[in-house]
Subunit: 283 residues, 4 copies
Amino acid sequence: MSSIIALLYGADRPGIVARVSTWIHERGGNVLHADQHLDRQENVFFQRVEWECAPRTNSIQEGEDFQKMAETDLFMSVQISHQNDIARIGVMISKADHCFHDLALRVKSGEWNAEVSCVLSNHTNLEKTVSSYNFPFKHYNLTSENKHFIEKEQIEWIKDQGVDLLVLARYMQIISADFLDQVGCPVINIHHSFLPSFAGAKPYHQAYKRGVKLIGATAHYVTEDLDGGPIIGQDVTRVSHRHGPAELIEKGRDLEKLVLSTAVRRHLQNRVLVYQNKTVVFD
Amino acid sequence: MSSIIALLYGADRPGIVARVSTWIHERGGNVLHADQHLDRQENVFFQRVEWECAPRTNSIQEGEDFQKMAETDLFMSVQISHQNDIARIGVMISKADHCFHDLALRVKSGEWNAEVSCVLSNHTNLEKTVSSYNFPFKHYNLTSENKHFIEKEQIEWIKDQGVDLLVLARYMQIISADFLDQVGCPVINIHHSFLPSFAGAKPYHQAYKRGVKLIGATAHYVTEDLDGGPIIGQDVTRVSHRHGPAELIEKGRDLEKLVLSTAVRRHLQNRVLVYQNKTVVFD
Amino acid sequence: MSSIIALLYGADRPGIVARVSTWIHERGGNVLHADQHLDRQENVFFQRVEWECAPRTNSIQEGEDFQKMAETDLFMSVQISHQNDIARIGVMISKADHCFHDLALRVKSGEWNAEVSCVLSNHTNLEKTVSSYNFPFKHYNLTSENKHFIEKEQIEWIKDQGVDLLVLARYMQIISADFLDQVGCPVINIHHSFLPSFAGAKPYHQAYKRGVKLIGATAHYVTEDLDGGPIIGQDVTRVSHRHGPAELIEKGRDLEKLVLSTAVRRHLQNRVLVYQNKTVVFD
Amino acid sequence: MSSIIALLYGADRPGIVARVSTWIHERGGNVLHADQHLDRQENVFFQRVEWECAPRTNSIQEGEDFQKMAETDLFMSVQISHQNDIARIGVMISKADHCFHDLALRVKSGEWNAEVSCVLSNHTNLEKTVSSYNFPFKHYNLTSENKHFIEKEQIEWIKDQGVDLLVLARYMQIISADFLDQVGCPVINIHHSFLPSFAGAKPYHQAYKRGVKLIGATAHYVTEDLDGGPIIGQDVTRVSHRHGPAELIEKGRDLEKLVLSTAVRRHLQNRVLVYQNKTVVFD
């Protein structure tokens, strides 16, 4: 039996938790997890609540009813999902394959409740690799001239495949604002630095030049602001003067895989709420 | 105005969260934080909830009423505290002073809502140091022969001082089961290893001999089982073949301070529930 | 042009560094890296030195000459390798595939100067997976009765394949002392705990039961002493009361991959010296 | 008997290590530690070597002779120090006391071979605290108008006290370029962010606003470029949406103490070489 997961946020008011938990209890539901946060500076309330319905309940209907209640009575923004929903992931890649393999193996192993619905690349070198996982692959011969046109084609395929989440797995192109407007699903990117340090191109070379003693990776939702979207996860690893740019790149690969997969997991498990270009992560 | 903090746990049953949150809401209380955990293997429910009472409410009375309700109606074990309670800490030390200074400076700086009510040592070398903070100090000339008798004296002073929490800040003596039975408050110890590795004497020497690549520290509640009580916090730091026992001891000191102070903070903020020789830490 | 790497250790005596560096300099060699360690307690000297030969030098011959000099004149134990040697790795697996994929992808990507020469399993479920990388695979139907016989067959194949390093990538069987005696190459194992905590079976369940706040993984050379061999690398990750055994196992997988691959890299780059059941790692 | 520590760097050329080690060996010296680094991109060689002189040697004279040899024959930049030199530290503070206490306690405990020669503040609130350690204290009533004049007075006292290292222990004023030119000793600062992120004022508030998932601290040598000098050490700690600016500040204090004391230790043990606005740290 599948549980329901609700993510809600909105202006704080007395009795939200009481109302939510009583509503579920009255229908015979059993709360499995509940996590909440109150931003006292902004007076905004956030909650993630997961519950099992009573036996023989139509959980789709119950989710819709809950959403109506929370929107109408509590003035909350609400996202409902079901624990056994299988998310359809689209992946965009360029030449590097380490993040792609990492995602692909996690999907194949059943670590996540997800499948890979399409893989898009501006290069052809990984076509065989992608096919070995039996994932649909398309190559887009992107140039600065045809970008607008190609992006339209990409969006078309992404929509055809019913993608719920688009992951940029070291995709080395900048996504346009139009693309983001029209793609119709969240987009997660991995940036190979500890943002906001070293946004933009060649972050490992920037890090080497500055002589930092830790390098990092950051997974974030993509917005129009390059490398400026809400951060979902970050991590760092220790480096020294012995690490030149090549060694930083090599060390960074493991970091990128870990940080990206953590962010994708959090998103897929409906643990992330975005608010004021920041995230609340119930992990 | 002071908020109320309730820690509760007991057999899970439907509607606990609804009941708790409704109870608070009906009295005009405002939930500031609520965190819960369900051990599905054992079917045990844990909750930490903190709320502000309605204006002009007697919060002491409300805390007692809540406790009665949760015990009687929900069959929970309940601990109530008030956010502005000032905890009275007793500290036991031997010759090393680093953990003592760390605790003392945190208390003095107001980082915690606490005061140091008494400091007990089996040595005299830190008497002046303790006095410079204006903390009451007593030296106990402990020997293997007089241990039973000295422990009685120690307990007497600890009780006279109204101690709420006893901290063993690198106290190098084993506390007897009788002492624990009679002292009437929780006792936190810092052990200078990553337990359960290297319990007992000279853990850094044991770690050196084994050639581990990380050393650790563990803060735990003291039970009759030496270094076997519920773990409140642990951390590690990287070492290499270059670190002999002396270097491990030096690196370890910073770890011990951090891990012990984190555990004391968690306890003082009523974030720790003990269950089956483990802890649930709502941090 | 390939560089020479020498690992040496032995009783310390005056002038070792001078002798080594002068010897290389006189032949027109250029030292790229040199790292040394003096265990003052045991009076043992350790060094890793890597140098480029003068142009048109026979580097194989120079390595042999160096070894003779260091053994005869400095009474050192010496291992010589060449930077462009391609190591031949044997891998033993059971049912779990995460460490295998991680190793396989690193080898395929050229991250290491190595190839996988054979993969042995006591199960058949990963045969296709292994074959997809074009690695030779053999299944051994191991039982408690035929272990002695099967191990002989395994050793035969390992030797036939010219294996330089054997990696137990979550191989769930205990290797016998006879096997270790006869296999003729070092064996690295990944143990899924922070050793010496939780040696033996089901370490994540042991960790859960003890209520530790960090879980770990340890890569070590295999010796007759179960989970007691020299530690090459360790790491930990933070866990809480929210993690049951299943979550610990999942979190642990990423740790195991990272710790095992780090240890294999260190070994392949000739950075590890074993001494008194401990390692000196020049990293 | 005191050992000699030499730090050298300069254009790489064949035979430096051979020459250095032979020179020491011929005089009956015994190398305790030697660490070297070759920046192959820039062709610059770095070395830290520590040795005990032969009995009855004048180690001051031997240090001077070594320096002459390395400068004249090897064209290296050389710094010589002696292991038992007691460094004289000057500390500049404002209102916050946590880094000051941390440094003071390490000096008092003998963890470092150092003493505190003077403490300068632009506030008076810590005068008693400083005096309780018996460190000389002076208050400077700094304003934007009198800065130039006050800095001259500060430098005068620092020079009178024979300061070898000046530590800005959360000193909240910007040091002028003139001050740096004239103070005659290195200056280490602790910045409460993971540089280059959040340079300048109120880094914890900047970090909160950006929604980062880790906060950091950075210790660096002070140069004219605000928060832009060579980084000696950095570390980070995990935070979440639950941490407002006040919690970040509190968590950050422990990080600042650790990062600053690590950097000071590295400097005092002559482990740091500065080159092209970066550091080589032989730790």
